[in-house]
């Protein structure tokens, strides 16, 4: 069975269990994430030629996060225009780059509605990355498609990107996510206070 189908089944089974049951799994999601990151670390550690990979990345490691920032903010501005949503708050929602647990609470300090949209829009970005990255890389170069995941490419979506894009994109995905994770809190706060 195609692995993508298994991913979708897992995701929807989880959504259904979350929606219709009250089972508590505690921090299992976090534990699984740490385990996966550890396995990815093992792969990097045992593979040869990592230094060569980092050198080869060069400018793309900085250009890709920049492209994600510009693209996300312009995409958010366009969505605001389509929805007749206040431009400032639309851009602030987009500046979360998929980091929903940060964007929601930060924007909720200004308005509960913007907080909910900040949370949901960025959660949806993460889910869309999990579902569509394997499909998008059939058309878009796999290292450039990393931009879909925004700040999440250093943690929650990293395993999906590596699984479908190959372990050679681990480093660019991690650097991309790291830069966006460092920028998002400042950018959201800055936009919200304009």
């Amino acid at each position: 069975m195609n692995f993508l189908y298994l991913v979708l089944i897992s995701l929807f089974a989880g959504l259904l269990v979350g929606k219709y049951t009250s089972y508590e799994f505690g921090d299992l999601a976090l534990l699984m994430l740490y385990l996966l990151i550890f396995i990815i670390g093992l792969e990097i550690g045992k593979s040869r030629g990592v230094k060569r990979e980092i050198k080869k990345l060069g400018k793309i490691a900085l250009i890709l996060p920049l492209a994600t920032i510009i693209g996300s903010l312009l995409g958010g501005a366009f969505a605001s225009f389509l929805l007749r949503f206040p431009l400032k708050w639309g851009i602030a929602v987009s500046a979360g780059f998929g980091w929903y647990s940060l964007t929601g609470p930060l924007l909720a300090a200004f308005s509960p509605i913007y907080g909910v949209i900040g949370f949901l829009a960025n959660l949806t970005r993460e889910i869309f990355t999990i579902i569509f990255y394997p499909l998008v890389i059939k058309r878009v170069p796999k290292e450039l498609a990393v931009s879909m995941g925004g700040a999440t490419t250093m943690d929650s979506t990293l395993p999906v990107l590596v699984k479908f894009g190959g372990k050679e994109i681990t480093i660019i995905a991690f650097i991309h996510g790291f830069i966006l994770t460092a920028i998002a809190p400042f950018l959201i706060s800055l936009i919200a206070q304009l």
Binding site: L42, G45, F78, N122, S147
Partner: protein
Amino acid sequence: MNIFIPLIVGVVTGYIFREKLKYNLDKPMSATLLFLIFFMGVEAGRVEIKAMSLFVTSIIFAFFTILGSLLFSLLLGGKLR
């Protein structure tokens, strides 16, 4: 920044035992990934969405932020490939 700890431990362990770690890590990684996605789904399913319009707004924002990112990554990053 807890994410650094398992990553660095993994890299160091993988490097130290690179001669002994001959087996393929693809299967354990796939299994853990499926569990992770399931538990992420559970967390997402717990979020109560009362208004349909909020849901649609979120989807449109997610779609266009992803689309914008992809377009600019192709525009700026495409030349460097």
